[in-house]
Amino acid sequence: MISIQNITKVYHAGQKPIVALSNVSFEVKPGEFVSVVGRSGAGKTTLLKLFLAEEKPTSGTILFENQDVHQIKPHYLPNFRRNIGVIFQDYKLLPSKTTYENIAYVLEVMGASDADIANDVVRVLDLVGLTNRAQSFPEELSGGERQRAAIARALIHRPKVILADEPTGNLDPYHTKDIIKLLTKINEMGTTVILATHNQDIINTLEKRVITLDEGKVIRDEERGRFAL
């Protein structure tokens, strides 16, 4: 489903080029639950940006359903991105829209009917426990609430793949457990999940495939892996 082939990404900022990813390759099969772990700066977020075609790799290709994502014309990028639900590390909620509108936005851009939107958003809000925050703006939400709103937005349109970049970074252990349970459940329903995290407990309880990145390189790729650096 997703094939990362020899991806290298070098940033040229300042005097010294920074190698964010170096020759990274792995495959993700449909319905898989993959955790990508590593220290901050290991290249997790860069990988996510490259997969979304937000940035171009220095070399290498990323295939999604046998299509090179960096060859997609700008006009068709929105269609491609609708296959993916992303929980951004910095949430990326739209500040001028309420929680409800932020979540509904994804369905609106896809052209869902008003009835479907009303129905689904209410369910997802309930799912992440933000029903009574529906009319609040992102700046009125706590960090954890924002994170849950971001999660709700990533789920709402039933994407084929969910990319979760530190989705539990701002959550207390109670909510963390819930979110991971939710991601597992969505995965069981058939959605591919790629989870980037440095939370040791999550990885160790999941008992799923773990890819470990260190300084831009894949240093380990194990089925039923554990967190070890």
């Binding site: 700008p74 992303v86 829209k97 609106e108």
Partner: protein, 320 residues
Amino acid sequence: MKARLSGTKKEGGSPFNHMKASLKRIIKSGWLDFRRNGGLSLATVFIMIMAISLVTSLFLLEKTSNFLVTSLSEKVDMAVYFTDEPSSEEINTIQKELSGLAEVKSLQYISKEEALEKFVERHQGEEVIMESLEEVGGNPLLASLNIKAFEATQYAAISAFLDSASFKELIAKVDYNEKKPAIDKMFSLTSTINHTGIALSVVLAVVAVLIAFNTVRIAIYNSRDEIETMRLVGASNWFIRGPFLVQGVISGVFAVLITFLVFGLALWFLSPKISLIIPGLKLSAYFFSNFFIILLLQMAAGVGLGTAASFLAIRKYLKV
């Protein structure tokens, strides 16, 4: 966390319904953004009011200068004086020949008696003049033909025609040469007013457009992260651009309505005073009789400016 995601299909319906729904969403979102960014929207509207006011002022200024030019042009004429009182046939042929000229707007024949009557009328009560008139005895005044051209520049051509006309021997004098400096001055004034007007309009219009454009650009610059996020969650360019264009249109419409109201009221109260300075110029009557043209002009300026500026400013951020 009990609820489950339903499995209904998301996309569907005819493309037309899809477009209609999108359009509705774009307009709604544009209006909401306009309201929620109150301060910024207000600033944009204010700047646009300035721009539209400039355009409207120029429109009115042009009308005023046109009025001045025409009313001054109307005061210019030339007169042909005849040696003897010509016979009515001669007058007829002369008038016929002259009215055949493309430059001639109107002709007015003044006989010796009429000239005397006018003279007496004008100088009534001025004893010295009346006395000297009596001293001269009889009617010392000449019969004349007043000629008006359409434009001040055309008198030269008419004067040249008179120099070689068939009735040349009847002419005592043509006062064109006396009036020439005045006519030339008049002509250069007209063209100066027009040229200055055009130059001023262009400069002011450019300034207005740049300011309005910059305001919209700053507003969009503020939203650059949002635009990027919209791209990343799969919104098409039109779906992102749409609400900004709608905001531009709304700002434009508000600006136009406010400007129109301000100008309407100002002219309503000021027009009588302007008429005192420039008699015959009825700006408020002009403004209200050209209501729709002015409104259209303002709408075009306001809405056009708002949308064009949004469209151009947002391009940069849609490249993610």
